[in-house]
Point group: C2
Chain length 376, copies 2
């Protein structure tokens, strides 16, 4: 069977850049994916892309990759596919990729598992993340939170790591819920090695996802880019337990940049494994939650995935993309200052005024002394 040329182009480009690459996204948007692949292959490229594609552009293991995908029950999901989570990806539109090139949307995603379409899985999804070395208390909270969210119909997204991540995945599986493990390496790679069996179990009813092509080993910087995907595929991030220097706070940072709620579970005041959660709550970086219903309150009001089933018409369907970004950045209760909105939506304060004006004009939002709030 001959591979569709657009799919082959996505596979090739995903392999060449291996990770977020804003200039490549721009090129694909401008000239199309096949022409972009040709330009990369022949090095007809602007300077930043030339360097980035240098190491691998003359090799193309796509045929081997596709054979491997067949063998392990996996697939490449691209923006051409019905299951591509278009809606989720809109969040990346608000990122300032000049300031942070790693904030780019993934070009395509490698997906292993039989759980169902990716877009369906990410329609209502919460990331449950935290330390690799939780306390007994933290493990219990992770399991309880994941099971509680599953009971409300939510998918559990996490990173497949030791500690809170795997506890959340396992709890979701135990109650027959949906779960997604987002890896910092190829989906054929059991990482961490001890989690090979867990990842296979997740693939049986859930999904294992990566933006890295098969065969790629985990590298330090890839974990940071992976964290952005965990946030990007979720409506909110819940940090269960985290020390002061936890990777979970990196995931939380991405969620804020994407304009989505960051939530944290408190613990005993003197617990080192809760110190990161407490600091985030104290500094206003996260909102305190104690149970699944708190999380649903924060993440729940707008269920925004048009990828698979647009469902009934929504008021917000009429909005432009940047208007939606700003509207989604407002909490369901309470208000935000322009600066907070800018931080939450990733849109510069200088650009916000016009957007706020349009949203106010059409009755979606209003303002009082405390700031802007949702009017519908």
């Amino acid at each position: 069977m001959r591979l569709d040329p657009r799919r082959a182009a996505y596979a090739y480009l995903s392999w060449v850049v291996q990770g977020p690459c804003a200039p490549l996204n721009e090129l694909v948007a401008k000239v199309g994916v096949e022409e972009a692949a040709r330009a990369v292959r022949e090095c007809e490229l602007p300077a930043p892309l030339r360097k980035r594609t240098e190491a691998r552009r003359s090799l193309d293991p796509t045929t081997a990759h596709m054979d491997l995908l067949d063998r392990i029950g996996a697939r490449l999901v691209t923006p051409d596919d019905d299951e591509w989570p278009h809606w989720r990806m809109l969040g990346f539109g608000g990122m300032d990729v000049r300031r942070d090139p790693d904030g780019a949307a993934p070009l395509a995603l490698w997906v292993r598992g039989n759980g169902g379409p990716l877009a369906k899985f990410t329609e209502q999804a919460v990331a449950v993340v935290g330390t690799r070395s939780p306390s007994e208390y933290g493990g219990y909270q992770a399991a309880d939170m994941a099971a509680g969210l599953v009971a409300e119909g939510w998918t559990i997204v996490s990173g497949g790591a030791f500690g809170i991540d795997s506890t959340a995945h396992r709890a979701a599986l135990a109650v027959e819920g949906r779960t997604i493990a987002v890896l910092a390496c190829g989906i054929d790679n059991d990482y961490p090695r001890a989690h090979g069996r867990l990842l296979r179990e997740i693939a049986r009813t859930g999904l294992v996802v990566s933006e890295y092509p098969p065969g790629v080993e985990p590298k330090r910087y890839q974990f940071l880019a992976r964290n952005r995907l965990i946030a990007g595929l979720s409506d909110a991030v819940v940090v269960v337990e985290a020390g002061l220097r936890s990777g979970a706070r990196n995931t939380a940072k991405w969620s804020r940049r994407l304009g989505r709620p960051v939530l944290a579970i408190p613990g005993p005041a003197d617990s080192a494994t809760s110190a990161g959660c407490h600091q985030m709550i104290r500094e206003g970086e996260a909102r305190l939650v104690t149970r699944a219903s708190d999380v649903v309150d924060e993440a729940g009001p707008l269920r925004l995935d048009l990828g698979v089933d647009p469902g009934p018409q929504r008021l917000t369907d009429a909005l432009r993309r940047d208007e939606l970004m700003v509207y989604e950045a407002l909490p369901s209760f309470g208000s935000r200052s322009p600066r907070e909105l800018s931080e939450a939506s990733g849109i510069r304060v200088a650009d916000l005024d016009a957007i706020l004006g349009r949203l106010e004009g059409s009755g979606f939002i209003a303002a009082d002394e405390s700031g802007w709030y949702r009017a519908c």
Copy 2:
């Protein structure tokens, strides 16, 4: 020894009204305390005061009260006295007593104990309050917090009740720190009865304070007025553990109205005795703290008691009372919207603009998109 007539007038009036009474404060401010006492005695009064003073105005047990004070090592402290905490009382100036008549400043305070002058005790003071039925965790946190604050030179204010209150008092005594028990009954009354010995211990090196004259029994509504005094005598309130319907939240409410920080210690997410703390943090009613240094950060920057020792000249000495109220309502870091400032200072939004303008003009505060903040 003949009793000073002004002191006698304060004692008589305190006994007649027994608790906060805004119209009486107004009358005293207008005509002086002796003339106010005469007017009450002879019922030459506006209607609201007539009813309020009806039950007791024809009796005057002041001589008996003064004898009792001598016997138990106690005194009446009035605004005439050096140890009257004038500065602390300014907070009440921001209260809207038409909306909440119970927000009035105390007319005078009955004080038992040899610890030192009341104004000195309240110069740097934090209220440590919470549930009467704490968990073992809560008890430990209360003791640890109180001892930590004492080590930083702070007085521990609480209500002498079972649970968190008494644990905080005892921890302060154990490390030879200052502590104040504010009672909802007369200072000669051991309430709760089982705490007679604790209250005597507090009186030995600390202070037992009440606005109710000797002999008064605790009544339900007096506890609410007492909570306002706990907040009024402190720079900040720390809620250690509290259920969803705890009296500690009433104390916290008074602290907010007085424009002072409300702080809460988190606990295990599923602990019923922390549910009130978590809700307050979640709703933005309290800031999360985990240790004494967090509290000092919030309560510490301005040490504002002119009662005993004005110390070196302060920039803020130049401010009018309402300007100080607003300035004090701003956090040392971060900003506030006018609505938040209004809630924190008790000054109506409508009246805030002029005050903010003056403070900005003199360089004390500034504003950006996120709201008003301290500029010095």
